[in-house]
Structure formats: structure tokens, C-alpha cells
Amino acid sequence: MKYYINEICSSGNIAVDDNLLVKDVPATAGSKMLESFIPLFSAEVVERLEKAGYGISGKTNVSEFGLGLVGETSYFADAEDKKLLGAAAELVKDGKVKAALNVDLNGAPRRASALSGVNFLKPTYGTVSRYGVIACACSGEQVGVTAKDAESVKEILTAIAGHDSKDGTSLPAEKYEYTLGEDVSSMKLCVITELYDKASDEVKAKLDAYIAKLTAKGAKVEKVSLDVVFAAQTAWQILMSAETCNNLSRFDGVKYGYRTPEYKNIDELYVKSRTEAFSFLTKATIIYGSDALSKDKYNNCYDKSMRIRRVVLTKVKELLASYDAIITPVCSKAEYEAYNTEDAFMKVFEESLFTAVPSITGLPAMVSGGVQLIADSFKESTLLSIAHTAEKEEA
């Protein structure tokens, strides 16, 4: 597997997804479009880690603009990469780096860490700067941390979280304190039946085993219904695609990036450059998003999705008033098989059923032991404590 698109320093202990900028190092976002693009500045999260003394090992392979299931739609993927695993998660699993920074815009790092059996935390929207993220879905994407154990996730997250004046959506708190020490024995957790039922037997068994570890510690776990998960999936698909369509339109072959060698006029330059440089999934997402934003469909697609976002948030918050956290599967299967390129859009859409709620609501979510934990805003410590407790049970 090709872990890195560009290696920086073999002694570095943090890998960074290639849709995050590191000054003077090419940032391709897994796309032919940006094969030669060299950023003039580093992402805020990268700067913070470097200031704290961490070293960046290199830019990890990601699916084009992070839109795929894991890393399969990268322009730089090897033929054998059809194994469908995330590069950063595998590096962490193999102990090659302490941790990795990933952009979670439609669940890819969450799926990757579940498949590789490592931890990933997508923090509350607005707590970690998005400055320097090659943006797709600004209203929901977040930089998160992949690491082998909850302790390391906490350490790296502490280093990157906090207000950044360069990001207008950044929340005001300068620093966040996280702990692994919340008492899990007194916690009440719930499993969402709609998502549980959609998972394979293997995934169900994994989730049951995880729950068993927590109940053994005294936690109470109940099954509940949350039918807005389906609306959340569709609404997020619309919002994510529309924002992606808009954000990727700057890649037009005029200023930087790929430009088609031959064109007769500016329109041809646009159409050929974008047609030749984007993968199928990226094009499908752009077309879907463009349609959702068109004059005739705006009210019934984009605007309605924003209203659904508020409904989903309200419903999930109601649930989280009675439970400390929600437990769900994060992938339908324990292992992904390669699929036909033309099926990419539907494949990703189907799998996003499990990841859409944290994406559309901005709530924090953590993958631990192959399952997904979701908590209320700013309750990262609850997630970290549950993951930490489950880890100790394994040992």
C-alpha cells in the first residue's frame, strides 16, 4: 500500500492527510488536479503540532478530496490498494507513527480506523481550526486525530484544539481540557436500532462484545429508536455535495493545478481541465451538489436539508439528555471489497448512513474497537473515557 503521497521526514511521529496543508510540501488531496500544487502556508493544526515539538512524517494518501469510503479514489492509489484501507489508519496500526491528522468530511477516517482497529476522534465542530484544510463540506468537516490508544488521541487533540482567529467558525475557548477519567460504571448508553439492524452479523458481534466490556464495568446500555438517521443521511449528502461542488469550483485550471494541454477558449479550458483531472466520484458529487443548488430545487433540496439539520440536532440532543453517549456501528461490514468505479457515489452514500449524524450535527464522535461513540457537544472526555475503559478491558 502506498502510505504517503509525499514523505517529509522519516523520524517524524505525526502523519498528516494530504488534504491538509504543510507549507512548501505538495498538497494533492489525492487529486490529479493538485498534483503540482505547493501551498504557501501550513494548516493551523500542523503549526500547533510543530510548535509543540512534534515532527510531521509525511502526507498520507487520501481518496480524492476525502470523498471516498476510505482511500480508494486517490489518483495516487496503487492498483493493489483495492484492499480499501485508510493509509493513515494503517500507519498508526503498524506503529510507524504516533498519530495522524485527518479531515473527516463524510466519515472516511472513522471508517478507516474501524477497519484497521485503531482510534479516531472527530471533535465538536468549531473546537479545532479548519484553516489549511482543502475544503469540501465546510459546514460539517472537522480535523480529527487517529491514534492507537485513547491516551494518545487525548494528547494530540489537546495540542491542536482551541480558538483560531483565522477561522471565522472557530469557537472562542482558547484551550480545552480533556480527561480519560470519567466514571464509566455510572454511565447510561444507548444503541440505535436503525443503525444496528443495518450492520452485518460480524459487525453486530463486534459491537455486542464492545458493549459487554462496558456493562461488565457497570455501565447501562439500552436499545433505542432514532428514525431521523435516514433523513440525516440524505440531508448530509445534499449539503456535503452542494458545498463540495462550490468549493471545488475554484480548481478551474486558470491559476494553479492541472490545465488541459489544448483548448480553444476559456470554456474549453474549464471543461477539459476539470474533466481530465477529477475522478468519477468527485464529478458525481459535483453534479449532484450543483443540481441541489439550482434555482428550481434550492428550496426543496438545500434549504430543506438545512432545516432537517436542525431537526436532527434537536432529536439527538434530546436523546443525549437521557444518555451519556450513543453507540453505533460505523461501517456496514468488517471489511470492504473493491467495487466498480461507477458505483462509487451510491457506495459512499449507503455507508454514510452510519456516519451522517455526527457530520450533519457537528457533534463529537469517536471510533474505538471498531464501533462509533457519539456524545453531546464538548463531551469529548466522555468519549475518551469510554474508549479508555474498553481498551483496558482488552488488555
Partner: protein
Amino acid sequence: MKYELVIGLETHVELSTDSKLFCSCGGHSSPKEPNDCVCPACCGMPGMLPVTNRHAIELAVKAGFMLNCKINQYTTFDKKSYYYPDLPNAYQTTQWFNPICVEGSVDIGDRKIGIKQIHLEEDAGKLVHDEATNTSFVDYNRTSVPLIEIVSKPDFRSSEEVITYLKRLKSALQFAGISECEEGAMRCDVNISVRPEGSTEYGVRSEIKNMSSLSEIKDAIEFEKVRHVDALERHTEILVQETRRWDDVKRRTFPMRNKETAADYRYFPDPNVMPIVIDDAWLEEIRKSMPATADEKATYYEEMGIAPKEAAVLASDRKLCEVFDAVVAKGCSAKTVASWILTECMGIMKRLEIASLDICPDKLARIIELVEKSEITRASGKKVLSAVFEKDVDVDAFCEENGLNSKVDESFILETVRKVIAENEKVVADYKGGKVKALQALFGSVMRELKGTGDPAVIRSLLETEVNK
């Protein structure tokens, strides 16, 4: 049948901010070299996020105050998507859903023109075509410079009303320091239709895009009026709703290619720009920072002892007010300063064809001070003032170099007086014979000899003493 014009205007004005709307690059003060004033944000590089310029928000609110608008205290920014090389992000951030100001009006004398809304948006860059190499270049200096778009209601009934409105708008925006309204920095889209007089329905509308000169706007409106009326009266053509452009060489409008206009802009709220909440305290702060209106200013000047007519002239022009206030603040008397500005400065400006008063108040204050203390004559003062306008000279150095200083040469004046008396025996005799006016002729001769440098009071007293000896 009699027809009436129905016109609505969309006016774009560049704001006088120090930086662009969403990044810290310099704002309206345009740099000399192309792409001197750009950063990763305003040239569309990935990874950058917009940070909203509060000063631009404040200036838009001020524009709302000036045009009697209701200020939306909750206002948002939206993205408008289209592809063009001068638009590096392929979207323009504008205000589609919740504009910052709504429902205002502009007084144009006997009528009021309604303002539908004022919204903030980013400007686009500039394309430069090189015919020699058949290449186009892009200059992003202007990208993301803040603009306000002032959308009027379709309330105009003649081209004269449009011109009056634009002049009022310009002076209001300049007066409040909202925009410099430099040449070309105020651009209009003119929506125009005609209908039978008395009808309340609207005719087929054409939109003339991107006009900046008042005379062209007037000509374009008159041309369209004739074209529309001909179409209705004599069926010269079938009117369709379309976008047109004015060709200043051919002196007529032409339809623009459909492709340039039939776009779906895919507006949606910008998730990276948080809604702006202008709370009461901030609104009050902005209101307090508004300059006095022309009427308030005129009343204030009258209270300082300036004649109503002069006060009104001073108050009507922001530059005049600025210089006047600054010179008065240096301790000169208000009446004197008013006379210097309205008589001497404006006279020189007229002669040199200078449109707006652009003089260092310190220099004007110094000239007035020298004249008031009789260190130079008023005539010399005018001479220095003229040199200041023309070559921006240093006042004291100029007086020194040109021997305008009237204090030093009292003995020289006496010498000159004696010389004039000696050379004009007849005039002296006339004077002594009772012709009082003859003294004035002698005085004039002395002044001529001295080339206007001597202190007139001193000359007169010396002359009287000497001639009566």
C-alpha cells in the same frame, strides 16, 4: 399616446476600507503593479477561510443611515457561483438572503426615490487582454475589495431624475466617508421600461449593465426610451426582457450575448462566514461616528458667525468642511478662514481647473497667520497660496525667497515713498491744492514700485507724513 419612463438603478460603490472584505490585503487604495495586493485568500487558494472586515460592515450601516434605511441587525453572507477568470474562487460572496440595509429613500428635490436594499459584496478582479500575443492576463488586486450595491425601487421617471439621484448619492457617500467615489468606482446597472402614461403595469424591461459615466447613463436612457417607444408605437421590433450594454462609440445599446446573462448563480449561505449580529450598542457606536449632515454643519457654521449663504456652500462639500475645520482648529478666526477658502482658494481652483479642495490645512493656516499679523500683504498671501496649489511650496521659504516679507523693509518703503513724491511733483501739488484723491494715486505708485510687498498701513502712514512735510 404619451409614454412614461420607469427606471430602477443598481449602483455599485467601492468602500473606503483599509483592507479587503475577507482578508487583510489593502483595500480601495489601488496599488500600481498588477497583483501587488493579493494573498492566498483573495486569489482563491485552497485552505484559506474568510475573516469578515468589521469596518466594511460599519460603512455599509453608515450608508444605510445616510439613505434613511432600516438596518438589519441580523445579516448574512451568501455565495454566488459562476466561472470567470477574474473570479478566483469561482464564487462571489454577497448578501442574497439577508441584506444589511432595507427600505430607505433618497430625496431628489420634489420627489423621493425609494431604496429597496443595500447589500455588501466582494468585487471581482480585472482581465487585461494583450492583442499582440493574443493572451489574457488576470489582475487580482481588486478581487474581494468591499462594495455596496444600492438597489433602488423603479421610481425614476426621467434621465434627469437619475442623474440628480446619482449626484446626491455620491455627495452623501463622500460626505460620510463611506466611499471616495473616484472615477469609475461607482458603477450602475440601469433597469428601464416604458408604459403608457397613467398605466400602473410595467412594460418589458431591459437592463443596461455596468455604466459609470453620468453622461453615458443619460444618453443610454434617452436611447432606450426612443427604442422602446418606437417598438410600441411603430412595431419596429418586439421587445424582450434582456441585458444590454452601451457602446459609447456607436452611441447606442446592444444586446449582450445570452450566455453572459442566463446563468443560474446557485446562491446559498456561506457556511464559513458566521451571521453578523449588529447589537444595539454597536449600532449606536456607528451612529455616533456619523459626521454631521450638511444641514447640521451649516447651522453650526452660522453660529460661528459665518453668513448663511457662505455657510451653506462650505457645508455642502466634505473637502471644504475638512480644510475649514482644520484651519479654524489652529486658532484662525472662522470668518477669515471662510473668506480665504471661498474667495481666494476657490478663485485659484477655478483658474487652475481643480475640482476639489486639496490643500494642507497647516499651510493655509500659516498664510492666514502671516497676513493677519501683517508680516506679508494680502496680495502676497494670494501669491503664496497660488504657489502652494501649483507646486505645493513651503510657505515661509517661499516668502523669504521672493522677498514678500513686509516687516523688514520699512526704511526701503520710506526711501520708495520719498522717490515717488520727488518724481510726481504735479500730483503732490494737486493733493496740496485740495484734491484728496491724488493721495490715492501716489499710494498706487508706491505699491507698484514695491511690487505689492509693503504693508499698506505702513505705506499710507509714511506717505501722509512725507507728503505733508
